[in-house]
Symmetry: C2
Subunit: 229 residues, 2 copies
């Protein structure tokens, strides 16, 4: 099943970097078809690009290094997907939802890539630099916009970003790891979770102070009872 690419000309003198890109692409592709990160062997990747295993180590320190490169690649894709999903909206809440939906949907449609990026024990800080600089930063900005719009209480957006990220990660990770649970309509569930997280944070900020169960219950009771759409 390991598709061997038999012939491969030795690269030109200056351009050994070409192989590096091919390796990353092959690893990414194999990873997408595979069940887990260590089901993709260095030998299989080498085989896929038509090269022997030790050649990989001319371009990557070890397997983690290769996986990090793949993840970095995938995360630039994720960032692009998030940006393109959000750029038609201007309202901060709309943008936040678009970001969150794009994030989760990307995660569940690239489960193994997402797994090694956000679920496996962090091999290299590199991965998280990418995560921190692009997608995370954009999300954090949007949270700040929600604050400015009075949706969240003013302050440092970072804790709220982390909190909302946790919600997005939770539903993505759980759907990936336990797809056989009775999720129902996937899009709807994601939307419900993200919406609840955002509205919950906003509402908790309105309640103010320490939101104890007792205070939360009392506050909820002041709201009008459920009315249909």
């Amino acid at each position: 099943m390991t598709t061997t690419v038999p012939k491969r000309r030795r690269a030109q003198r200056g351009s050994g970097e070409d192989l590096r890109a091919e390796i990353v692409a092959a690893a990414k592709s194999l990873l997408a078809k595979s069940a887990s990160a260590d089901a993709v062997s260095i030998r299989a990747v080498a085989n896929a690009v038509g090269v022997t295993a030790p050649s990989i180590y001319l371009h990557f320190a070890d397997k983690d290094d290769l996986l990090s490169a793949v993840v970095a690649d995938v995360f630039t894709e994720l960032d692009a997907a998030m940006l393109s999903a959000a750029d038609e909206f201007t309202e901060p809440m709309e943008r936040m939802r678009a970001f969150g939906m794009a994030y989760v949907k990307f995660a569940i449609s690239h489960p193994e890539h997402y797994r090694i990026a956000a679920m496996d024990p962090c091999p290299r800080p590199n991965v998280d630099e990418v995560l921190a600089t692009s997608a995370f930063e954009h999300f954090n900005e949007t949270v700040k916009q929600c604050m400015d719009a009075g949706i969240f209480a003013e302050g440092d957006p970072l804790p709220i970003t982390l909190e909302l990220w946790a919600a997005a990660h939770g539903i993505a990770a759980l759907m990936i790891t336990k797809p056989y649970l009775p999720w129902g309509d996937v899009d709807e569930v994601i939307d419900r979770v993200l919406c609840a997280a955002a509205v919950g944070r906003a509402a908790a900020d309105k309640i103010g102070g320490d939101v104890t169960p007792a205070r939360a219950t009392a506050w909820l009771a002041t709201l009008a009872p459920t009315e249909p759409s």
Copy 2:
């Protein structure tokens, strides 16, 4: 570093099951000290109980089978921790918070156990049976109680249970995988996330219908602005 236990008498005739329990205990212990599931080798476990590697296979079909046994063991612990954390409360919201807090705190204090139980690709359905029957079921009941108390809209509790579980799993998983992020006070963050998820679901139910960003924003605007504690 692999502590060898040199002597070990052959077990009595009827009781080969003793070794099984010892193996599970040793694997659980090694797993707790280790960085990941496949950093714990069959050979290391065998060595820890003073036996050779193939003896493991007299009691477990393969490594996944052994890990499943460990996870089952750990999950009965988790269930006990959740029950004991909640049994001093009677109010459903209080109980839900106690459940959630106990769940997340157990997860982050047994990170590798939690990882193979809830973050790794499911090796055997066994693991999830345990998860479904004990902790999950108790949580689902509490959600039902919240419905009866008018906190959540009436209906099937399962979707809400999954939703809240996703929130708990999200913060637990993220804190385990990325402990170096600026979380601040751990207990407070967990509480914030769980509270936001619960209040958010309750509020979304009050809003009713499809909670679009526009409707949510409008609804939030009707609330009194943030007032300090």
